[in-house]
């Protein structure tokens, strides 16, 4: 019996009291140890759903629970240890070194007036090693390439030692080489037991690593479940409004934009 680590039940969300619903009576179950991909067209509410899971935005109705407990039961610091976010576009505002930037991830383990110590620096260095940026630790964090920046953001999320890793479109601006690096890294992290939830516009990325899928359309769940049950040609065609096909080639699942066939 798989264990649900993160659960959203019948959540509504709107930006203003009079705005239309962005999320509408949405249900989501994330199994512990799974990689769940949230797919959907622009404006479907993918990033908003991540914000709600994080607790950053409160749902208008319904509830979100982690490990069976309502999200409001956790203190801010506890939340910071349970979950970390890799945001889509984060600018480095001051001229930090990569190592200084990663140390910020230790915040949930440090009191208000505490500062990172040797142990925390070791954890940050280990995270850098994991993402393969060890030699960049003293470089300026604001002058990395797009791929290095994204790897650094993942490393900072790892420094939080979370149980659940949230990523908002982790590969949207990366070249194939860096995309591959991130994919491999996420699989490795999942292999060590981390639950991963990410949004993406790239069905092939989802096909490559996800174990579960949530297809989101205009704030409601069109289909959710295991990859095998959710990632089908008809489902994707309905989701994006164009003809799409899912093929098995040499043991890999590949999504084609069907109109080209």
């Amino acid at each position: 019996m798989p264990k649900t680590i993160l659960e959203a039940s019948r959540i509504d969300y709107r930006y203003h009291p009079h705005a239309p619903l962005v999320l509408n009576k949405l249900d989501m179950y994330v199994e512990a140890g799974s990689i769940t991909a949230i797919l959907g067209p622009n404006g479907a509410g993918k990033s908003t759903l991540l914000d709600l899971c994080l607790g950053w935005k409160p749902p208008g109705a319904g509830s979100i629970s982690i490990k069976g407990e309502h999200i409001s039961q956790f203190s801010r610091r506890q939340m910071g240890r349970l979950m970390s976010l890799v945001p889509q576009n984060e600018r480095v505002r001051f001229d930090y070194t990569v190592l200084e930037y990663l140390l910020l991830g230790r915040a949930p383990y440090l009191g208000q007036l505490e500062m990172p110590e040797t142990r925390d620096v070791d954890i940050a260095r280990k995270a850098l090693e994991q993402v393969g940026l060890k030699e960049l630790q003293y470089r300026s964090a604001s002058r990395l390439s797009g791929g290095e920046h994204q790897l650094m953001m993942i490393a900072r999320a790892l420094v939080q030692e979370p149980e659940i890793l949230l990523l908002d479109e982790p590969t949207s601006q990366l070249d194939p080489g860096n995309r591959h690096r991130i994919v491999r890294l996420l699989l490795k992290l999942n292999g060590s037991g981390m639950t991963i939830l990410f949004t993406t516009h790239d069905p092939n990325m989802a096909a490559e690593i996800a174990t579960h899928m949530l297809l989101l359309q205009r704030g409601t769940v069109m289909k959710s479940g295991t990859k095998e049950s959710a990632l089908t040609g008809p489902n994707l065609s309905r989701l994006y409004g164009i003809k799409m096909e899912v093929l098995e080639v040499a043991g890999k699942t590949i999504v084609f934009n069907g109109e080209e066939n």
């Binding site: 914000d51 994080l54 607790g55 950053w56 801010r76 610091r77 506890q78 939340m79 910071g80 240890r81 979950m83 970390s84 976010l85 945001p87 984060e90 600018r91 480095v92 505002r93 001051f94 001229d95 930090y96 070194t97 190592l99 200084e100 910020l104 991830g105 915040a107 949930p108 208000q112 007036l113 505490e114 500062m115 990172p116 040797t118 620096v121 003293y138 604001s142 939080q160």
Partner: protein
């Protein structure tokens, strides 16, 4: 501890040593018995020199240290909390608010020190709150632009208020006090003034110092800070209030001394690092050095005093232009596109 931080700590220690040296020299500098420095041995033998040093120069130099450290620390905190190196308390209605409060007290209530301090403090906080509230209701521009525009508007309102008060002030007794306030300076600072601001300034600086690493977290955007396990709004308000209280405490005895809170944090980030762990204490020490040097120059260079505020603005604005136009600096430490 990692190597880079170690190197920065060594530099910080050196800066502290420079500050102590500067303080010592400032106490020995003056125009008695003649313009220049007096040796400690000569001073010990001369009762008048000794009394000058103990009752005039020493409190003034301590006030300069507090003023410089306070303004520069508050500037660093504002720049980090707003994630923008172009803000300082003076830009957000704090300084003009304090000036208005001080003038109001001088004309309407009392010229006593505590009344001026209280009134200046309340109006400084009001200025900050007004800037913030108005910025939230502006309908265009990014958050920082709105905040700065709101700050300009609020400062102008307070400046108009100060103008009105000056117009009604008694030109013989009240007007000189107000003018002193607007120019800024430390002449006539005595022990009672120093001791009146010492506890609150030192307490505020200790609090800010305690948060020096956390300032990095609070310079992140709201959602990131939240995801790192913070309650960013609450902590920002607390630190803004602390920085504003420190600012209004030190300028209650000095009047408006401009540009320190803007320029010193830049220098500190360049000399040390952007990490608040060294940028903040570095700002305090460099700010103190800057004001002690400027104030000593202000009281010894000419026979009459040069207003300190005039001197710091002159140097500060000049440095600011240099910092923002020199190519290697723009490409090096600061990334203009990150601050829009």
């Amino acid at each position: 501890m990692h190597e880079i931080l170690f190197r920065q700590r060594v530099r910080l220690l050196l800066l502290t040593f420079v500050l102590l040296t500067v303080v010592l020299l400032a106490v020995l500098a003056g125009r008695y018995p003649r313009a220049g420095f007096i040796s400690p041995w000569a001073a010990a033998r001369d009762p008048l020199a000794m009394s000058l040093i103990l009752s005039l120069r020493l409190p003034r130099v301590i006030a300069a240290v507090l003023l410089g450290a306070g303004l520069a620390a508050a500037g660093t905190v504002f720049q980090m909390l707003f994630a923008n190196p172009l803000v300082e308390p003076g830009f957000l209605g704090v300084s003009q608010g304090a000036a208005f409060g001080a003038s109001l007290s001088i004309v309407a209530f009392s010229s006593s020190l505590w009344a001026i301090q209280l009134s200046a403090g309340i109006c400084a906080l009001t200025g900050l709150a007004l800037s913030y509230l108005i910025a939230r209701h502006f309908k265009f521009g990014g958050w920082v632009l709105r905040l700065i525009l709101a700050g300009i508007a609020v400062s102008a309102l307070f400046a108009a208020g100060v103008g009105l008060i000056k117009y009604t002030a008694d030109p013989l007794s009240e007007l000189p006090d107000i003018t002193f306030w607007m120019l800024g300076g430390l002449w006539g600072v005595d022990w009672s003034q120093v001791t009146s601001i010492l506890p609150i300034t030192v307490a505020g600086l200790i609090i800010l110092f305690g948060y020096r690493w956390r300032l990095n977290l609070l310079s992140m955007d709201d959602r990131t800070a939240f995801s790192l396990g913070l309650a960013p709004f609450r902590e920002r308000i607390f630190l803004l209030l602390t920085a504003t209280v420190v600012t209004s405490a030190v300028i209650s005895i000095s009047g408006i001394v401009g540009w320190v809170g803007l320029i010193v944090p830049h220098i500190s980030r360049r000399v040390l690092s952007s990490d608040g762990r060294t940028a903040l204490p570095g700002s305090m020490v460099i700010g103190a050095i800057y004001i002690v040097v400027c104030d000593t120059a202000a009281r010894t260079l000419l026979e009459g005093e040069i207003p300190l505020g005039v001197l710091t603005s002159l140097i500060g604005a000049g440095l600011f232009i240099v910092l923002l136009t020199r190519r290697q600096i723009r490409k090096g430490k600061y990334h203009a596109e990150n601050y829009t």
